[in-house]
């Protein structure tokens, strides 16, 4: 079956060297619209480094990244987000002293049209934008059933909901590709099941492409359409979940010979 969906994110021979260490080399991935691709590999394989490259935290020393046909490698982190790649973090990075709704509103900032003048003199434009944003934020929170906790300070949320809020915040940037860095890390089975549901909802509602790093194999095998495996910065396998599960090289990378 030939896939007719357009490619959203594409990398070409992406690589980065820290001093003499080749953290990632010759990394090629193609993600199509609405697709969910898993990125797995043993600890220290370079998965998070790939994320940092894709989001502009690190500048690649070789290769290039394209979002549709726009080259985004070399852009600054916030410009990459504005172009349409949003991410969550392995260790949760919320604005912990701010309320849940404020966390989401910060991600809406780039859509805010009013300037300093309107903010200080409280022009009608200010009220209108703020009202719209609040409504948008509440809608988004509703999808994650966080709407009744909108005014709770983020650090007071339970762990699973903090993860969800981080995903909601990433979605608020109105991106095309969502990068999830170990969303199920540290979660109990119920929370993981909840997360799974959440990911399905995101895919239905937002039609975004998702790249997922995860160690929880049941989750990966369950949701991913395709999986790419890296080890020591090298891609060792790529394909459908069943293929990966039976791939000799992958099993060796995880368990040793």
């Amino acid at each position: 079956m030939e896939d007719t969906r357009k490619t959203v994110l594409r990398t070409q021979h992406l690589g980065i060297t820290f001093g003499g260490l080749k953290a990632v080399s010759d990394f090629n991935i193609e993600i199509k619209e609405g697709e969910l691709v898993g990125l797995i590999g043993p600890n220290g394989a370079g998965k998070t480094t790939v994320f940092n490259l894709l989001t502009g935290v690190y500048k690649p020393t070789e290769g290039a990244i394209f979002l549709y046909d726009e080259k985004i490698s070399g852009k600054k982190s916030h410009q990459v987000v504005q172009a349409g790649i949003a991410r969550t973090f392995q260790n949760i990075r919320l604005f912990h002293q701010m309320t849940v709704i404020e966390n989401v509103l910060v991600a809406f900032t780039k859509d805010v049209k009013y300037g300093l003048f309107s903010a200080i003199f409280r022009t009608p434009a200010f009220w209108k934008t703020e009202k719209e944003l609040h409504e948008k934020a509440m809608e988004l929170l509703k999808i994650f059933s966080l709407d009744d906790k909108a005014d709770v300070v983020a650090s007071n949320l339970p762990y699973g909901e903090q993860r969800k809020l981080e995903i909601a915040r990433a979605l608020a940037t109105n991106m095309k590709v969502l990068l999830l860095d170990e969303p199920a890390a540290g979660m109990n089975p119920t929370e993981t099941a909840d997360l799974l549901k959440c990911i399905k909802v995101i895919r239905e509602k937002f039609k975004v492409a998702i790249l997922l790093i995860e160690h929880d194999m049941s989750l990966v095998m369950n949701v991913c359409e395709r999986i790419q495996v890296i080890s020591f910065g090298q891609t060792i396998a790529a394909g459908l979940p069943e293929e990966i599960a039976n791939n000799q090289q992958v099993i060796e990378a995880y368990l040793g010979k």
Partner: protein, 376 residues
């Protein structure tokens, strides 16, 4: 967000501001010696201390960056306004202070002070805000010292002001400097400026700008991962804060007949120096505008009673000795505040007129909880 409720809150606050202004306008035209000699100078001092604390709070409390050179911006503002007013006076633009010409001079000087301080803020902010934490603190500390030395060595800032060739740490003549009479009759102007500045800062904080800078304080990486340019917001806030420090400087030159750069140093024996402003913000609560106001007034009153209170003489000998070192008293006060309110008097909450009716209840429940905690 309930719109009607918001409108009602704005209305109540507006009424409160009007009442405050009416009180001060009445006080300004009431002839009374205590008012003239004690209250008016105190109000002027409070005015610039409040603006200083609140504007530093933008950087320290909301943006989360430690700036130790805030008084440098105030010095820029003070000298700019003093020199401009002095120049206008020498040019014969105004002769007495109860005239329209003087009002114009005052406005020009304040605006110029704010703008020049903001420009210096841009120049300092762009390189400095690439650093964070201790490094930023050291850079701003250096800036505060450099600016004082620069002013000391610019000839026209010297002894006579505008007169070439006599550089010194003092600018003795100051066009804006009010006498006690004028301090009283212009008292309402000072309060009005404070109200305007505070309103502007609160509006800034309660908009997308405030949201983003608090996000930067909480997590810089996540802020840029939500598509916000952190350097832009950092510099904007720094400049915004410098702008108000400049206004505070202009008020300072209104409240003093002569200027000396030692008043704006990193640390000195008085209540106005960069470190003390930082302490005021911490005591008031980082991230609370009303906290800054309360702390600024509180710190001033503490200073005032120590320096002028006859009650100090009534203390036993060993305690009196303590009070001859005001800094010691501040330190003790600071330790007490940090012990009982680790996040400052207000924490990151704001004091709202709407909360006041609920306070007796909250205080009661606070003690009840404490008692319950003890019993357990």
């Amino acid at each position: 967000m309930k719109k009607e409720n918001t409108a009602f809150r704005y209305l109540i606050n507006l009424v409160a501001i009007i009442i405050l202004m009416v009180v001060f306008v009445v006080l300004s035209f009431h002839s009374n010696n205590t008012l003239k000699l004690k209250v008016a100078p105190a109000v002027w001092q409070c005015c610039y201390l409040i603006i200083m604390a609140a504007s530093l709070n933008l950087v320290l409390g909301y943006l989360g960056q430690l700036s130790l050179g805030h008084c440098g911006f105030m010095a820029v503002g003070a000298y700019t306004s003093a020199l401009i007013s002095l120049a206008l006076q020498r040019a014969g633009f105004y002769t007495e202070k109860n005239s329209i010409q003087f009002a114009i001079t005052l406005i020009i000087s304040i605006v110029a002070a704010a703008v020049v301080a903001a420009l210096i803020g841009v120049i300092v902010g762009i390189p400095a805000l690439r650093l964070k934490g201790d490094y930023l603190a050291i850079i701003t500390l250096g800036f505060g010292m450099i600016i004082v030395n620069l002013i000391n060595n610019i000839p026209f800032c010297g002894q006579q002001g505008l007169a070439e060739g006599a550089a010194s740490s003092a600018l003795y003549a100051n066009g804006l400097g009010f006498t006690n009479d004028e301090k009283q009759s212009f008292m309402w102007v000072g309060v009005l400026i404070v109200v305007l500045c505070m309103t502007t800062m609160v509006m800034f904080v309660r908009s997308k700008f405030g949201r983003v800078i608090r996000a930067i304080r909480d997590n810089e990486i996540a802020t840029s991962a939500t598509g916000n340019d952190i350097s832009y917001y950092k510099i904007l806030t720094f400049v915004f804060s410098a702008f108000f420090a400049g206004i505070a400087g202009a008020l300072y030159s209104c409240a003093n007949v002569s200027l000396a750069t030692t008043s704006f140093a990193f640390t000195n024996g008085s209540i106005l120096n960069s470190v003390f402003i930082v302490v005021t913000v911490v005591v008031g609560g980082m991230g609370s505008m009303t906290g800054s106001v309360i702390a600024a007034i509180g710190m001033f009153l503490l200073n005032y009673t120590i320096k002028n209170g006859s009650w100090v003489n009534a203390l036993p000998e060993f305690l009196k000795n303590v009070f001859t070192y005001p800094m010691l008293v501040y330190s003790i006060a600071l330790v007490i505040v940090i012990l009982f309110r680790p996040k400052g008097i207000m924490g990151d909450k704001e004091l709202s007129l709407f909360d006041i009716p609920g306070y007796p209840k909250r205080i009661a429940s606070y003690f009840k909880n404490k008692k319950a905690a003890k019993e357990v």
